[in-house]
């Protein structure tokens, strides 16, 4: 295949350009490709190649013109903002990234399809922070003690209930100082 511009040299560079959903294939020789200087730097001068921007890609899903709208489940106004970091829905759409850990719950209804689309329907199975694990165990312990407390009250075993109440209070206070 010859270069589509000079029609002399063999085409060694092949790429597909997608602009506003319009697909265009290009077959060029290196010389012509360099002379083109496509916007966005298809052929930047030699250097460390920048990473593909996943964030731009994600932001694109929320673009009003995007075909993937159906997975936005809850409509949010562009001004709705995460109370912790102030990230707005509009900004999230634009940058494809979140501002703090709370954004994941604040925007949860807004992007469930998004996380599913990237990651499938799985739960995290890898490493768990050691302290996270301890906290999780603590939480579960509190839940268990509460159940026992209800039981003790039902059985009118007030001495046991007082013990349980103190244990719960201690556990919860410890958790608080760790946070």
């Amino acid at each position: 295949m010859y270069c589509e511009l000079c029609k002399k040299n063999p085409a060694t560079i092949h790429y597909t350009k997608i602009v506003n959903g319009h697909k265009e294939e290009r077959h060029l020789c290196e010389q012509c490709a360099n002379s083109l200087k496509e916007p966005g730097g298809v052929f930047p001068t030699l250097g460390l190649m920048p990473d593909f921007s996943m964030a731009d890609f994600i932001g694109g899903f929320f673009n009003p013109e995007s075909q993937s709208q159906p997975f936005v489940q809850k409509n949010m106004s562009a001004h709705d903002a995460c109370p912790v970091c102030g990230m707005t829905a509009g900004e999230f759409r634009r940058v494809g990234r979140v501002g703090c850990s709370n954004c994941y719950s604040y925007f949860a209804d807004y992007m469930p399809g998004l996380i599913q689309r990237i990651h499938g329907n799985s739960r995290h199975t890898g490493k768990v922070p050691v302290r996270g694990e301890a906290k999780l165990a603590e939480k579960q312990k509190v839940v268990q003690l509460r159940q026992e407390l209800q039981q003790a009250i039902a059985e009118e075993n007030f001495e046991r209930a007082a013990e349980l109440r103190d244990s719960i209070r201690n556990l919860e206070q410890e958790g608080g100082t760790h946070a």
Binding site: M49, G96, S101, R131, L136
Partner: protein, 345 residues
Amino acid sequence: MLKNLIENTASPWTMGDGTDSDVVLCTRIRLARNFAQYPFPLKQTETSGQAVLADLSAFCKDRNDLHFYDLHDVSPLEKRALVEKHYISPEHSKDDNHYRGLAVNDTGSVSIMINEEDHLRIQCFAPGLDLDDLWQNVNALDDDIESYFDYAFDERLGYLTCCPSNLGNGMRASVMMHLPGLTLTKRLGLLDQLSNFGMTVRGLFGEGSQSVGDLYQISNQSAIGQNEKDILTNLKSVTQQIIKEERNARNFLKEQNGLRLSDRIWRAYGTLSNARYMSSREALELISLVRLGYHLGYFTQLESAQVDQLYLMAQPGYLQVLYGHDMDEAARDVYRAEKLRATIG
């Protein structure tokens, strides 16, 4: 101290050492982590940005083996050299109003980018193919940091990151491979298949499908629900397959077309050790052939580290740091030729 690290020719990428070093230059594992109590760098204020820097600075003092730097105090040229050595990302070298920091050890085998896209990007490097030990190291460092600070974590989503695509284990493992054999035998198409195995490939230098200097980085694509050990096992076996194919290709070239191959390699050596002007691109192309020749046993007078150090000379930032200040392109080309001659001439 940072100056030593920047100028040192023995970065983990250029030691010419380690397992399968004929094909693999370096292995890296990176973990993305955020502190629970602060907003991510994207939404940082001066207070919360400085707080992250202060926390890491204190952590480094406690540990003794890590040195902390506020990147505002590092010159643009030095930052460029840090990028070239892969201690920081191009993004992290920007002179902007973010609160960027770096923690690094003496040898450069550990570097933590602070307030990049996430609060922490914990990176460990090793020469050659070495995923198992590297995981032990980065995992231990991660545990240690976590014993000081609470991480942003969710039972279902895993480690919470600024970009939703990094959720889950937040791990990216990469192997930097030199693949001149597959290039010369036109079998790089093999790399296109890797996405089927959950891997991505990109050229280290240059653009488009073919990398300048035949250097490729193979990394895992990560998703929630995968655990670190499985990803690393998968990456290791994929890498080993590529190593096998690359060695086959090199042997094929030597057996089938030995004289032509050795002609190209010796010409490359001749140019590198005699030229008076040398552009970055030409250097990378020639170094690739010399490196191939070295591992085929052509240059018994050279050490493997000598050959891999040439990659540093090819790059503009490192060169200018050695020179002491900024140079224009022509001056760089002359100085580069001089340094290359001095290294292997």
